[in-house]
C-alpha cells in the first residue's frame, strides 16, 4: 500500500465530464507571502489535486478539475485563505453516475 498514486490523479479526472466556465474561477486563493498551515493542507486534502505550490513557494489553484466537494472550503474559508462559491448554474463537473 505504499506506492504513491498521486501521479495518476489527472488520469482519474479525465474520466469525468466538465463544463469549464473559462475566466470565472469559482474558488480563489487569497494573496499571501507565506502559505498558512491550512493552505498547505489543501495540497494533499483536495481529492482533485487542484492546489499546487508554485515556484515562488505560494499556493495556487486551478479549478478546472474541481469536483465541488467543499473540502477546501471547510478547511480554508474560516482562516480567510480562500474564497469559495459554487460555479454558475450548469457549469463545473457533470456526474453521469454520481
Amino acid at each position: 500500500m505504499s506506492v504513491d498514486p498521486s501521479m495518476r490523479i489527472e488520469d482519474k479526472l479525465y474520466y469525468n465530464r466538465y463544463l469549464v466556465d473559462v475566466g470565472r474561477p469559482h474558488i480563489k486563493v487569497r494573496a499571501h507571502t507565506e502559505p498558512s498551515p491550512q493552505l498547505l493542507a489543501l495540497l494533499k486534502a483536495c481529492p482533485a489535486r487542484c492546489y499546487e505550490l508554485n515556484d515562488k513557494g505560494k499556493v495556487e489553484i486551478t479549478v478546472d478539475g474541481c469536483i465541488e466537494c467543499g473540502t477546501c472550503r471547510v478547511i480554508g474559508e474560516p482562516t480567510g485563505d480562500i474564497e469559495w462559491s459554487y460555479p454558475r448554474g450548469g457549469y463545473g463537473v457533470l456526474f453521469k453516475f454520481g
Binding site: 460555479p87 456526474f95 453521469k96 454520481g98
Partner: protein
C-alpha cells in the same frame, strides 16, 4: 422569465429537495425548485443504498419505473488489516420479497427520475440555476431568493433550504454554522464497470440480487473512516471516506487512500479487469444529533444534509433527507391551510413532527458515537482490526501448536496492545454510546 411570486421556493433538487417539492406540489401549492446542476443529480454523489420505505411514502408505486439497480439480499461487514479481512455476512432469502426493502441505485440517474415526478406533480423546476443569496424584508424575514440568472428577486412565502451538506446559502445568511472539519467526512468514489455475469459470479448473486460490503480497518490508516463496495447491475460503486480533520492532521491524500483500498487483495479480486468511468467526491455530515442546527425561522426551513440530518453509523442519509423534506412540506402545508403566516412560531410544527419521527429518534440514540469514534480512532481502525485478524489467523492456521497455547497467544496480544483497563474502557464506552 420566471414569475416572481410562489407559495414556496425549494433550493436544491437532491433527495430532500425533491421530497419537499413533490409533497407541496401534490398538495396544490405553487412551487419553484431551483437546482444548480444541468439536471437533478448531475452534482450529487452517493454510495448508494436506497431505503424503499421512505420513498414509498412519497411515491408508492416507485418500483414500476424508478431506475433501480439490485435489491439487496446480503450485507457484509469486513474488518481489514493489510492483507486479510475478517467478515460477517448476513444473507437471507427473505429479502427476495415482493417489495424489497433496500436497493442499490446510481444517484445521477435516480435523481433525474425523482425530478420527473416532481415536475409531473406540477412544480416548476429550473436547473442550471445557482441560488446566490436569500432575499429578506426590513424585519429580516426571508421572503425569497436571488439567483445567478440575474432576474432580480423571486419571492415566496417560504424558502426550503435543501442545499446539501456544503450549503452556502444558510451559512452565509448566518442561519447555521459552516460545517467544521471534525464534523464532516470526505468520501471519494469510483465507478467500476464489468459485465453483468462477472459481477454476479464474483459476488455470488443470481439475477437482480445485490450485495453491499462495508469495510473498516487499516485501510483508513488510523483515521476515522470506512470503505464501501456496492454491486450494481453492470458496475461496482467503490469508495472510502474519512473525517476532513483527519485528512488535515495526517496529510494522507484521498486518492491515495482509495488506491490503497483498491489494491487490498480482498478488494482487488472483485474489481479485476474493470473499466473505471467516473471519479467523484462528496462530503458526508458526521456530527450527528449534537450538530443539528436551528431547523426553521422566519420564512425558512432547512432539511436533509444541510441540517446535518445524517446517520453516519448506519450509513443512512438519503432516507433522512427524504423524510425531513416530506415532513417539512407537510408542516408548511398545515400552516398554510390555516392561512397562518410562515413565521418561526408556526414553523416550529416542523421540529415537533421531526422529533416524533425516526429521524431525530435515531440520531439521538447515537449522539455519543461520533465523539467516541473520533477520539479512539487508532484503536477502532488500526489496533482492533489487526488483533482480530491475527486471532483469526491463529485460530484457522494448523501448524502443530497446541490449541491452548494458541489461545494464550491471542489473549496476550489483545492485552499487550490495549491493556485490560484499555479494553474494558473501550467496551464500556462503546456500549454507552450505542445505547
Amino acid at each position: 422569465m420566471i414569475e416572481d411570486r410562489f407559495d414556496a421556493i425549494v433550493v436544491g433538487a437532491g433527495m430532500a429537495g425533491n421530497a419537499a417539492a413533490l409533497t407541496m406540489a401534490k398538495r396544490g401549492m405553487k412551487v419553484l425548485q431551483l437546482e444548480r446542476g444541468e439536471y437533478s443529480g448531475s452534482k450529487n454523489v452517493q454510495g448508494a443504498i436506497l431505503y424503499a420505505d421512505m420513498l414509498e411514502k412519497l411515491i408508492p408505486d416507485f418500483r414500476e419505473d424508478a431506475p433501480l439497480e439490485r435489491h439487496l439480499v446480503e450485507q457484509r461487514f469486513w474488518m481489514m488489516d493489510d492483507r486479510s479481512h475478517v467478515g460477517l455476512h448476513y444473507c437471507s432469502d427473505e429479502f427476495n420479497e415482493q417489495r424489497p426493502n433496500r436497493y442499490t441505485i446510481i444517484r445521477a440517474q435516480f435523481d433525474r427520475w425523482f425530478s420527473s415526478k416532481v415536475r409531473e406533480a406540477g412544480a416548476t423546476v429550473l436547473c442550471e440555476t445557482t441560488v446566490t443569496g436569500l432575499a429578506r424584508d426590513a424585519n429580516g424575514k426571508v421572503v425569497g431568493v436571488h439567483t445567478d440568472r440575474g432576474d432580480g428577486e423571486v419571492h415566496a412565502d417560504i424558502v426550503v433550504l435543501a442545499e446539501g451538506v456544503n450549503g452556502l446559502l444558510g451559512t452565509r445568511a448566518g442561519l447555521r454554522e459552516r460545517p467544521k472539519p471534525d464534523k464532516v467526512a470526505l468520501a471519494v468514489k469510483e465507478m467500476h464497470f464489468l459485465p453483468r455475469e462477472t459481477i454476479e459470479a464474483r459476488f455470488n448473486l443470481e439475477g437482480d440480487e445485490g450485495v453491499v460490503i462495508e469495510a473498516a480497518g487499516t485501510i483508513s490508516r488510523g483515521m476515522t473512516g470506512m470503505g464501501f463496495i456496492y454491486a450494481n447491475k453492470e458496475c461496482i460503486s467503490l469508495g472510502i471516506g474519512c473525517l476532513v480533520a483527519d485528512f488535515q492532521r495526517t496529510g494522507e491524500t484521498p486518492y491515495g487512500l482509495l488506491d490503497g483500498f483498491k489494491r487490498h487483495p480482498s478488494v482487488a479480486r472483485l474489481i479485476k479487469g474493470s473499466e473505471v468511468k467516473e471519479y467523484s467526491a462528496h462530503l458526508i455530515p458526521e456530527g450527528g444529533y449534537k450538530a443539528i442546527p436551528q431547523l426553521y425561522g422566519e420564512g425558512w426551513i432547512v432539511v436533509g444534509d444541510a441540517a446535518q440530518l445524517n446517520n453516519a453509523i448506519h450509513r443512512e442519509g438519503s432516507n433522512l433527507a427524504m423524510t425531513s423534506g416530506r415532513i417539512a412540506a407537510e408542516a408548511i402545508a398545515q400552516v398554510r391551510s390555516r392561512r397562518a403566516p410562515m413565521s418561526a412560531e408556526n414553523l416550529a410544527l416542523y421540529k415537533k413532527m421531526l422529533d416524533d419521527s425516526f429521524v431525530i429518534k435515531d440520531l439521538k440514540k447515537y449522539k455519543d458515537m461520533p465523539r467516541l469514534m473520533h477520539t479512539n480512532s487508532q484503536n477502532f481502525f488500526v489496533t482492533y482490526p489487526q488483533l482480530v485478524s491475527r486471532a483469526m489467523q491463529n485460530f484457522v492456521r494448523v501448524d502443530g501448536t497446541p490449541r491452548t497455547e494458541k489461545e494464550k497467544v491471542t489473549l496476550k496480544s489483545f492485552v499487550n496492545a490495549r491493556s485490560w483497563i484499555g479494553l474494558f474502557g473501550d467496551a464500556v464506552r462503546f456500549a454507552r454510546a450505542w445505547r
